[in-house]
């Protein structure tokens, strides 16, 4: 059951642990090039369009820095 | 001679090892030394701070409140460093990370590009040793003339291969301070 989805990442909340990146099945995420104001290099979306709203990234994020949106009508079975 | 130094920086910037190296070298130069790192509960992040005193006579309070010299390694620690600086204190800032200017005008400011000098030598981690060299030069508290020997006993044998770079860093710092 995969949907079309989108994630938002709170750059300032993110501590750059990168656990979301490894857990994304569709390689939506990667580490950003610029640090946030804490000095951490946060995760960012590099392939937003591939997101299937599976919530894996959200599940493992220790800092609840990610919000996952399901795009309605975006079901692609 | 008593040099009271307050060191501050972002955790992980080597504030603790800078302080330790500083007092170790001082001890080897025959001085009395004391070093108190403020310890916190957070494991990572936060400001690392230390009171560091070297003197040619017995040291009373190990707490530096009116520092003769202040080392500021990160932008976060500028305010705290300024607050501790005594009248006419010397403020050494890591100009690579501290862009803001100090608010106080009664103190002498030396801007040392620790990170870039360290990177030039090949390792940003030795930015702290650059600063230590600058501190010695600017305060005159330590001669550091036997620093090569001192580093040999300061670092465990497993780290001896890093000594040359550390010496270069110290030297770069001294030069930067002279030139600043």
């Amino acid at each position: 059951m995969a949907f079309k989805g989108r994630v938002e990442i709170d750059r300032e909340r993110c501590k750059g642990c990168l656990l979301c990146i490894r857990s994304c099945p569709t390689d939506v995420l990667a580490v950003a090039a610029e640090p946030n104001s804490w000095g951490y290099y946060p995760a960012e979306q590099i392939a937003q369009e591939k997101c299937i709203a599976c919530g894996n990234c959200f599940a493992v994020c220790p800092d609840v820095a990610i919000t996952v949106f399901k795009i309605d009508g975006g079901n692609n079975a | 001679m008593t040099e009271k130094t307050f060191m501050a920086g972002f955790g992980g910037q080597g504030i603790i090892s800078m302080g330790q190296a500083w007092i170790y070298a001082a001890m080897k130069e025959g001085l009395e030394v004391t070093f108190f790192p403020f310890y916190g509960a957070e494991k990572r992040g936060g400001v690392a701070r230390a009171s560091v005193i070297v003197s040619d006579h017995e040291i009373a309070s190990p707490l530096v409140t009116k520092a003769h010299s202040v080392v500021v390694m990160s932008s976060d620690s500028l305010a705290i460093g300024e607050a501790v600086a005594g009248p006419k204190a010397l403020l050494l800032v890591n100009s690579d990370l501290v862009k803001a200017s100090p608010a106080r005008s009664d103190i002498r400011v030396l801007r040392i590009p620790c990170n870039s000098l360290a990177e030039k030598i090949g390792d940003v981690k030795i930015a702290n040793m650059v600063m230590m060299g600058a501190l010695a030069e600017a305060t005159g508290a330590l001669k550091l003339d036997t620093i090569a020997k001192v580093f040999e006993s300061f670092f465990p044998p497993s780290k001896h291969s890093f000594i040359p770079k550390n010496l270069q860093a110290v030297e770069a710092g001294r030069r930067a301070a002279r030139e600043a």
């Binding site: 642990c17 951490y40 709203a53 599976c54 599940a59 | 957070e42 494991k43 990572r44």
Partner: protein, 268 residues
């Protein structure tokens, strides 16, 4: 149209935590608060946060909270729950807190069948105090007080304690499960364990505990991803995941699988 399907729980205070990058406490906080939200219990939940890195938990849980002495969380939770019988009482503990200094308190709360839920965060180390050996530290794992690694031999440092299996021998325990936050799948399973436990508590069943394997990258001296890998490779074999004991009214058949295997643990 978009819907936020996975979002910050209402019962979790929107603050940057003091935990290190990659620390498991954050995920576990989220799971607890999500369930509190789902059960509509924010206004009648009390979290007891221990002495350990999760000493900060009361900053993050948007509920009433009580912070007791190191290891005595189950005793204090007993006091709280006996007075506030209709509240959800969550006793949050680390492995030093629960399995070392607080051993007597957890065992007797469990044996009395106290009707609160313990969330036991097993990171195989003392996080807050900087990496000393915990009762759950693995054989050979290094710690500041086991500089050459935990040695049950000459140094007499003992073996990793399997808390769920030990508590399973007590009749007061109704639900004991071990989850992990290493992967999305295990995070989701862990959430189900916690939810079962909370629901059982609100039904007034006996003692419930969910142990959660959780990374401490800082004191394991690993990067977060290495830490997660190490959990899977090194910790899970010693601390098998699953429901160790389930005597819940709604769950039908009693399971006590994990225990017999562990009894002969001495041979492993």
């Amino acid at each position: 149209m978009e819907t936020a399907t996975y979002k910050h729980p209402a019962s979790l205070v929107p603050l940057q935590t003091k935990y290190c990058p990659g620390c498991g406490h954050g995920v576990i906080h989220r799971l607890i608060t999500e369930i509190i939200d789902e059960l509509g219990l924010q206004g009648s939940s009390i979290v007891l946060n221990p002495v350990g890195c999760s000493i900060w938990a009361d900053l993050y849980f948007g509920t009433d909270s009580v912070q007791p002495a190191h290891g005595r969380t189950p005793a204090a939770a007993t006091g709280v729950k006996r007075v506030l019988k209709d509240h959800l009482v969550v006793c949050y503990q680390g492995d030093g807190d629960l399995a070392a200094i607080g051993t007597a308190e957890i065992i007797h709360a469990a044996n009395r069948g106290e009707k609160f839920t313990t969330i036991f965060v097993n990171n195989a180390i003392y996080g807050m105090t900087g990496g000393q050996m915990a009762p759950t530290t693995l054989i050979g794992q290094k710690a500041t007080t086991a500089p050459e690694g935990r040695d049950p031999g000459e140094a007499g440092m003992g073996y990793p304690i399997r808390v769920c299996e030990m508590l399973a021998t007590l009749e007061g325990t109704r639900y004991l499960a071990r989850g992990s936050v290493d992967s999305p799948a295990n995070v989701r399973k862990t959430k189900q364990y916690i939810k079962k436990a909370f629901e059982a508590q609100m039904r007034g069943e006996g003692f419930t505990l969910v142990e959660i394997l959780s990374p401490c990258p800082t004191n394991w001296s690993m990067k977060p991803n290495e830490a997660v890998d190490w959990m899977v490779e090194a910790m899970v074999p010693v601390f098998p995941l699953g429901e160790i004991k389930n005597l819940l009214a709604t769950d039908g058949v009693a399971k006590a699988g994990g225990v017999a295997g562990t009894a002969a643990g001495g041979k492993k």
